[in-house]
Amino acid sequence: MTTISHDFKRVFVWEAPVRLFHWINVLAILTLAATGIIIGNPPAIMSGAEATNQYWFGINRYIHFISAYILTFNMLYRMFWSYMGNKYANWKQFFPYNKKGIKNTLFVLKHHVLLQNEKVYDFRKNIIGHNPIAAISYSLLFILMLIQIFTGFGLYADNSTWFFPKLFAWVPSFLGGDMNTRLIHHITTWGFIIFTIIHVYLAMWHDWLEGRGEISSMFGGYKFIRKERLKKEEEKND
């Protein structure tokens, strides 16, 4: 391994709307999963109080529904921003759509997932925005969110008079009844839990192994890249 520069430059990657989306999404998903698991299997809280004086399970469901609205509109806002934001926020980031994208995907798969070492360390292959494998996992998360939105609002539609949940009223009959819809909704929650484990682990992994501010970038918006990498970007742009 050649000795390479450790002269890092601070680069603005994640714009404020992207960071805001991320943390709202974190809160919404955590709240939805927690309240959802309670709805699925309520704990046995034995109480001497009369039912008239209690409403905790109703409140739990209420929080679940509010968080669902927040998640949904937050997602729509992120979709809007994928057309408005910088290149790292662009919708094209989420699919390996060209030769370079596929090459990068294979690179990440080989060196980050399967932990092969490069024969010659090439800092140019450091990825600045989403790495392609992570981007694919976000696309999958997006699909999971769509499943939850369709099944969740489908189940909720009957309780609502607003047009928005009513848009999904067809879902339960399409999926063969509320029972099946509920099962799909329940199972998909585990997809979010598994995604969270992988996502948090890999964020820590990149921070630990690459030392380029992976985790802090989602707070401040800046990542660190090697000085040499900057030149190459400039050359390419010229």
């Binding site: 450790h6 039912a51 409403y55 399970f57 932990l115 009957d158 009959s173 029972m179 199972i187 484990i197």
Partner: protein
């Protein structure tokens, strides 16, 4: 309906002839309007329709079923529904309740089908087996499929009574050896009202028929072809135990203190939250009770494939393809555990495989540390 062709009594005339008073008749009409969810002004409309409309001929077929729908129907809480609509006036053909039998019965059916072609209502109780060319259910030497197609050809509309006719019920649950099939999957060119339930509530059945008679058209149906008046609400949302649900007070086991107190049956598998029916509002047996009131959870008898929807006494259903005992949470926990384990393994493998890269960074970091003023 063609009055010249049909000189029979109107519903009202038959009712009076059967010894009921006008008061009985009006009570019945008010009952029906209330069940169907109409405003009071429509009572007169229904009464008027029953006074002027000649009887609507009905053919009632029985295929793969247990007759619980008929049993439910003849126990509707107002005797007129059973006596007049079912027993005395309308039914031209029904295996269980008609006086005629054998060739006479078949002849009566044939006569009705020819005389009232395009006018009669076909009521179907039971599913139709399609396996082995339908030999699992034969009536009068014909398979149920032949019988159904013949009867449906001249029908004005079809009412699919009960879960058998509207979604297949127990005989179509896995592995469905006779290939029992609900009516709407066989007859596609006629309007079909699906009235699921095992059985449907008697008053619901009467309400559907009275609607067809009184207004001369089908009731408003939902996406699954069920009358909205009776199947628009979840059992859960009309349940008298709902306050216990919102208060988080649940029966944990059937013999515990909470069960005696009448808490919510959600945790012992009540399917009320996923079932659309009128049990919570109309109840059964003249409004005496219904399953939840008797201390047993709803098991979703009016929902599609309810027999295959997992255990009756548990909240979570089994996940197909993961064995009998694997519910969604067990599968999820195992998967999350495997992933967490894989992450730990990956971290350890990274430490070994990428040691050079790490070491180099640590060295340069420590070098720089020394240069710090």
């Amino acid at each position: 309906m063609n009055a010249a062709k049909n000189k029979q009594d109107t519903y009202y005339e038959s009712i009076i002839k059967n010894g009921f008073s006008r008061r009985d008749f009006m009570t019945f009409t008010a009952f029906m309007a209330a069940y169907m969810g109409y405003e009071t002004s429509s009572i007169a409309q229904i009464a008027n329709a029953l006074k002027t409309t000649p009887r609507l001929p009905i053919i009632w077929e029985h295929y793969q079923e247990c007759t619980c729908c008929s049993e439910s129907f003849i126990r509707t809480d107002h005797p007129i529904a059973a006596n007049i609509i079912l027993d005395k006036v309308s039914l031209d053909y029904t295996l269980t309740l008609m006086a005629a039998s054998g060739h006479q019965a078949e002849a009566a059916k044939k006569a009705t089908m020819e005389k009232y072609k395009g006018e009669y209502i076909l009521c179907v109780e039971g599913s139709v087996p399609l396996g082995e060319e339908g030999v699992f259910c034969c009536i009068a030497g014909k398979t149920a499929l032949e019988q159904l197609k013949e009867a449906a050809a001249g029908a004005k509309a079809i009412i699919a009574w009960g879960s058998c006719a509207s979604n297949g019920c127990v005989q179509s649950s896995k592995p469905n050896p006779t290939n029992a099939t609900p009516i709407h999957k066989i007859i596609t060119d006629k309007p079909i009202i699906r009235v699921p339930g095992c059985p449907p509530i008697g008053e619901v059945m009467a309400g559907v028929i009275v609607h067809v008679i009184a207004f001369g058209k089908l009731p408003e149906l939902d996406r699954q072809g069920r009358p909205k008046a009776f199947y628009a609400k979840r059992v859960h949302d009309s349940c008298y135990r709902r306050p216990y649900f919102d208060a988080g007070l649940f029966v944990e086991e059937f013999d515990d203190e909470n069960a005696k107190k009448g808490y919510c049956l959600y945790k012992v598998g009540c399917k009320g939250p996923v079932t659309y029916n009128s049990c919570g509002t109309m109840k059964w047996n003249n409004g005496v009770s219904y399953p939840i009131q008797s201390g047993h959870g709803c098991f979703g008898c009016s929902e599609d494939n309810f027999w295959d929807n997992g255990p009756i006494y548990e909240r979570l259903t089994n996940v197909p393809g993961f064995g009998i005992e694997a519910n969604a949470d067990k599968v999820g926990m195992v998967a999350a555990g495997v992933v967490a384990g894989a992450a730990v393994g990956h971290a350890i493998a990274s430490k070994m495989s990428k040691r050079k890269e790490l070491k180099e960074r640590i060295v340069s970091g420590k070098d720089l540390e020394k240069q710090v003023e």
